[in-house]
Symmetry: C2
Subunit: 123 residues, 2 copies
C-alpha cells in the first residue's frame, strides 16, 4: 500500500487545519482510492512520526510526504531531515519520499499569482 | 495609482522570501505595468506599515493586500485587523483592501492538490 502525507506547519487555531483538509478533499475527489493523511510539525496532531508510524502499521510500503509550505524555511532545512532519518531507521520496510514544498511548484505559484491578480483586478 | 501588496509571514532564513518573489515575478509577467510590493509580518522587511506608507507617499489611492498564507491563523484574525485600522487612519486618501488568504482560493487548493498528486504519482 502506498500513501501520501500532507505535512503542514500547524497553528494554535484549529481553523488552520482546514487549509490542509481542503487540499486532502481535492486530492480524494481526483483519486478516491488514495490514502491521504495529514500531519503537522507544531501545535496540531498527528505529528509526522505519528502519521508515518500509523501508515507503516497499516502496511504502507511507500509514503510520499508533501510539505504544504510556501517556502523552505528552517523547518524544511533543519528539522525535517533529522526527523526523516529517524523515521527511515524505524521503518526500513517503508520507503519515505520527501516532495518539494508546494510553494515551489510552478502551478502553485501561478495559481497564487492568478488569485492575487483577480483580487486586485489587475488583469 | 493602484498597487498590490503580497503579504507573507516572513522567516529568519532569507531564502524564505523567494516564495513571494516568485509570485511577484509571475504577476509582473502577466501584468507588466502593475505595482507589486512585498511585505512581511515577522522577521523580514519591509513591514506592511512600511510598504503601505511608501505606496501612499508615491500617490497610491488604492492598495490591495493579498495575504500569501495557507490559512487564516492568529495573524490574520487578530494582528492584521488592528494593523489595517491603524493604516487606514493614517492614510485616509488611500483605500486599503484585504483579500482572502491565498490558501482559500479554489485555484490554489487545486494547484496544491495537483502538485501533491504528481509528486506521489497518484493519478
Amino acid at each position: 500500500m502506498k500513501a501520501l502525507v500532507l505535512l503542514g506547519h500547524g497553528a494554535r487555531d484549529p481553523v488552520w487545519a482546514e487549509a490542509l483538509e481542503r487540499v486532502r478533499a481535492a486530492l480524494l475527489d481526483a483519486c478516491p482510492e488514495a490514502t491521504v493523511e495529514l500531519a503537522f510539525l507544531e501545535f496540531m496532531s498527528p505529528t509526522l512520526s505519528e502519521a508515518v508510524d500509523a501508515l507503516a502499521a497499516r502496511g504502507a510500503t511507500r509514503v510520499d510526504i508533501v510539505p504544504v509550505f510556501l517556502a523552505r524555511g528552517g523547518h524544511m532545512q533543519r528539522d525535517l531531515p533529522v526527523l526523516l532519518d529517524e523515521l527511515r531507521r524505524r521503518h526500513p520496510g517503508c520507503e519515505l519520499r520527501l516532495a518539494p514544498v508546494a510553494g515551489e511548484a510552478p502551478g502553485v505559484i501561478a495559481a497564487i499569482a492568478a488569485h492575487a491578480a483577480a483580487q486586485a483586478r489587475l488583469d
